[in-house]
């Protein structure tokens, strides 16, 4: 074996070996048991075999793909882009006009302006239905808040609606609905009964958010009769400090308003 290798090596250095013979040499020197006198050849063949295993890094392919892709897209896509842009613009115009025309003709045709007041009535009944006391368990809080907020659209308050809102303010189990009712009621604060209801409610409410909201509303509408209630609140040890401060401040402001 070693003799063969020696012959092969001679042939190799003369540049006369075939690929097959060179592979034999590489394999021979890759194996651990190389005789000492041939050891000096090992580094060379070992290097060749190892160098063959080198590969570009993993990110290289990715970078290459990125690099080759843009030139491919460049000039072609720009042309396509123009066409697509024009087409998209036209489509948008057509759709816009179409939708506008359809919307208009629909309004003119079936419902008309007279329906608007009817619509408002429908809203009111809808709102009454949702906020009705016996319904409170079957409707969700967000539904009731929505109903309360519908009252903003109503231009003239009637007793039914304000009474409904007052009930909601006082008895709704959900804080957020009560808060919404409180805010909605400030819109109707011109009504005397609403003012009274707000003052009375302040005595009932225990949630600090609503207490503060009520105090602010009453101060905003300059309801002097609330001063007494404010002072009571300010003295109440069970009430949150912030609320008591707010109440004192509110009382002072109403008093100073004279």
């Amino acid at each position: 074996m070693a003799l063969d290798i020696k012959k092969l090596l001679e042939k190799y250095y003369d540049g006369d070996t075939s690929l097959e013979e060179e592979r034999t040499l590489k394999q021979f020197f890759q194996n651990g048991d190389v005789p000492a006198h041939l050891q000096s050849h090992a580094a060379q063949f070992g290097y060749f075999a190892n160098a063959r295993k080198e590969q570009p890094s993993l990110t290289f392919n990715h970078e290459l793909a990125l690099m080759l892709d843009p030139p491919k897209k460049g000039p072609v896509q720009q042309f396509g882009g123009w066409l697509i842009r024009i087409a998209a613009g036209l489509t948008l115009l057509v759709v816009g006009f179409g939708a506008g025309w359809m919307f208009q003709s629909k309004q003119e045709g079936s419902e008309g302006l007279m329906a608007l007041s009817g619509k408002e009535n429908a809203e009111v009944t809808e709102m009454k239905k949702v906020l009705a006391f016996e319904q409170m368990n079957s409707t969700s809080a967000s539904e009731r808040i929505h109903a309360v907020n519908q009252s903003y659209d109503i231009s003239e308050a009637d007793r039914d609606i304000t009474q409904l809102l007052i009930n909601t303010l006082n008895f709704d189990p959900n804080v957020n609905v009560r808060l919404a009712a409180c805010q909605a009621l400030t819109h109707f604060a011109g009504e005397t009964e609403v003012k009274e209801a707000l003052i009375q409610s302040l005595a009932i409410q225990t949630d600090p958010n609503i207490q503060i909201s009520l105090i602010e509303s009453l101060v905003a509408i300059r309801e002097k009769r609330a001063v007494e209630q404010f002072e009571q609140l300010a003295r109440n040890q069970e009430v949150l400090d912030v609320v008591r401060l707010k109440a004192t401040e509110g009382a002072n402001r109403l008093n100073a308003d004279v």
């Binding site: 540049g15 050849h41 580094a43 290097y47 080198e54």
Partner: protein, 176 residues
């Protein structure tokens, strides 16, 4: 999308050669990043000239030639930069030689790499193509344009020279 197909076809023809081109560039430039950069350049050039690729018999041979030329160009411009940057070339080389070479001598692969890069350019290329990449003589002919006998001679010289230099370096190293 015919253009898309084109990229696919291009990848199919070129990507298998990628490793070979990379190793060739690494052999010349002796630096992984620079080698990757160089073959990226080669691929880009091939891609931009893809219409003409059909007329070449072997895209691989072309790519190998391009890689070789590009690497040699880069090496030349490196050398120029070095000369202009430092007038006192001799002093720099001397300073550069000892720690760097000693570090390289520490592993035989590094030493081999250095010894190969000290061979004349043609010997380097032929030796690499044959002994690392295992090209047939015909394939080397295609890349280099040299005759069969010429290639054998160059190969023989390169192998002998490499061994000679290796023994010298080893004796020098161990005798020290």
């Amino acid at each position: 999308m015919p253009l898309n197909m084109d990229l696919q076809a291009f990848n199919q023809r070129i990507l298998p050669v990628q490793g070979r081109l990379f190793r060739l560039a690494q052999m010349f430039l002796r630096n992984r990043e620079e080698a990757e950069d160089a073959i990226q350049d080669v691929f880009l050039r091939l891609w931009t000239n893809r219409q003409q690729l059909e007329s070449y018999q072997s895209v691989e041979a072309l790519a190998v030639q391009m890689t070789k030329n590009l690497c040699l160009d880069r090496l030349k411009s490196h050398d120029k930069q070095k000369t202009t940057r430092d007038a006192d070339m001799v002093a720099m080389q001397a300073a550069d030689a000892s720690p760097y070479r000693q570090a390289e001598n520490n592993d035989s692969a590094g030493l081999m790499h250095r010894l190969i890069s000290e061979l004349p350019e043609q010997q380097r290329l032929v030796l690499h193509l044959r002994d690392v990449e295992e090209y047939t003589l015909e394939e080397i002919e295609e890349v280099t344009g040299l005759s069969n006998t010429n290639i054998r001679t160059i190969l023989s010289r390169a192998r002998q020279k490499l061994r000679e230099n290796y023994l010298k370096a080893e004796n020098y190293g161990t005798g020290y």
